[in-house]
């Protein structure tokens, strides 16, 4: 442990340090790597136009189907419920509208990227802040 402090305070010259103990300045190097990683992460949304393009294209391909499938699944489940419970045609009618609502909401959330529920765009900034401290460690979340 003393070695780390020694190297932080200047320590012996470079070549001597390397030959003695490869783990000596490990903490230093880890910090350096984390800093580099974090700065790369911070600068990403601003200057990386290609990534933004890719995301936009991916989003466009994604949301087209969201509505159709939601309505389709709603009708399908409604039909199955009707067969099972003998409530034709009410299950199908109700679930058609519910499916439509679910589809609309999914599209809305996908486009606005609201943080309120599933399928939204990306992790909240707070999570990225948290990740900064621990990096890629394997420890459990709270």
């Amino acid at each position: 442990m003393g070695g780390v402090f020694l190297s932080l305070a200047g320590g012996p010259p470079m070549d001597e340090r390397d030959s003695q103990d490869p783990f000596r300045d490990l903490g230093e190097r880890l910090d350096e790597a984390r800093r580099r990683r974090q700065s790369a992460r911070d600068s990403r949304p601003d200057d990386d136009g290609a990534a933004a393009n890719r995301d936009a294209l991916g989003l466009a391909f994604r949301i087209g189907l969201e509505l159709v499938v939601a309505v389709g699944v709603g009708v399908g489940v409604g039909w199955a419920l009707d067969q099972w419970l003998g409530t034709r045609p009410w299950g199908m009618i109700v679930l058609l509208f519910l499916g439509f609502g679910a589809g609309m909401w999914n599209v809305y959330r996908a486009v606005t990227g609201m943080g309120m529920a599933m399928g939204t765009k990306r992790g909240k900034p707070g999570q990225a802040e948290h990740a900064k401290d621990t990096g890629w460690s394997d420890e459990d979340e709270d």
Binding site: R41, R44, R54, L57, G58, F61, R62, L65, E66, V69, A70, G72, V73, G74, V77, L95, L98, G99, G101, A102, G103, W105, N106, G115, M116, A117, M118, G119, T120, K121, R122, G123, K124, Q127, A128, H130, A131, T134, W136, S137, D138, D140, E141
Partner: protein, 244 residues
């Protein structure tokens, strides 16, 4: 030209290469199975061979492997955030399998197994069930708060919980149909326009130009759909790991 050759959907026919029946279940080795095995072999060979002689300055193949790794690692890091690192191998496997499968399908006469709803739905079902299990394992009953949106007036809550439930359970469908429909539509469109090239004679130059453009578009779609599938898997994982 035979009638079945002109059918743009003929390319998706399953052919039993090695007929095999076990206890009344058809487990024949088909053309789809062959290309799935091929995709697995290609990915495995690419990663193992490319990383066999690791160098500080990567060679051509090592670069490919590193780009694939970093691309997926960034995706998991960006979309799942902290706690998502342990699911990286799963997302990477899924992404590489679909990506290579889509691109194998672009080789003439090759079979596009991602154009089979069974295949895509099986993958989507694994993602859906896996994410649900991860969420329950990490959060227990608190996982159910995923279906209760914040800041909603009380009288609207029952309706919204039902809608949230529906939008949760349609996930495997949207995930699988998106990939399947894009691959089927693209490849069928290619076959239709390519068919016009022959039948129009000299004027076939026009559909030939369209086909060329469509091939380029299909390459884009092949990469993009693999990316979208992986990104959505990440988003679903984020829900399971972080709840809201």
């Amino acid at each position: 030209m035979a009638a079945e050759q002109a059918n743009p959907l003929h390319q998706f026919t399953i052919e039993r290469w090695v007929p095999l029946h076990l206890g009344g279940i058809d487990v024949s080795f088909t053309n789809a199975a062959f290309f799935m095995v091929a995709a697995g072999v290609v990915v495995t060979l690419l990663i193992t061979l490319a990383t066999r002689r690791r160098q500080m300055v990567p060679g051509r193949w090592q670069s490919v492997a590193e780009i694939a790794y970093e691309f997926t690692a960034n995706m998991v890091d960006e979309y799942v955030g902290h706690g998502g690192e342990r699911y990286f191998p799963f997302v990477f496997t899924l992404f590489m399998f679909i990506f290579v499968g889509n691109f194998l399908g672009m080789i003439p006469w090759a079979y596009t197994f991602t154009a089979q709803i069974v295949v895509t739905f099986a993958m989507a079902a694994v993602v859906f069930i896996g994410v649900t299990i991860i969420g329950i394992a990490r959060h227990g009953f608190r996982f159910l708060t995923l279906f209760v949106p914040h800041g909603v007036p009380g009288w609207l809550l029952p309706l919204l919980v039902v809608i949230e439930l529906i939008s949760y359970f349609i996930r495997p469908f949207t995930l699988s149909i998106r990939l399947f429909a894009n691959m089927v539509a693209g490849h069928a469109m290619l076959a239709i326009f390519a068919g016009f090239v022959v039948s129009l004679g000299l004027f076939g130059i026009l559909p030939l130009a369209v086909t060329t453009a469509l091939v380029l578009l299909e390459f884009l779609v092949a990469a993009l759909q693999a990316y979208v599938f992986a990104v959505l898997t990440c988003l679903y994982l984020k829900d399971a790991v972080h709840l809201h």
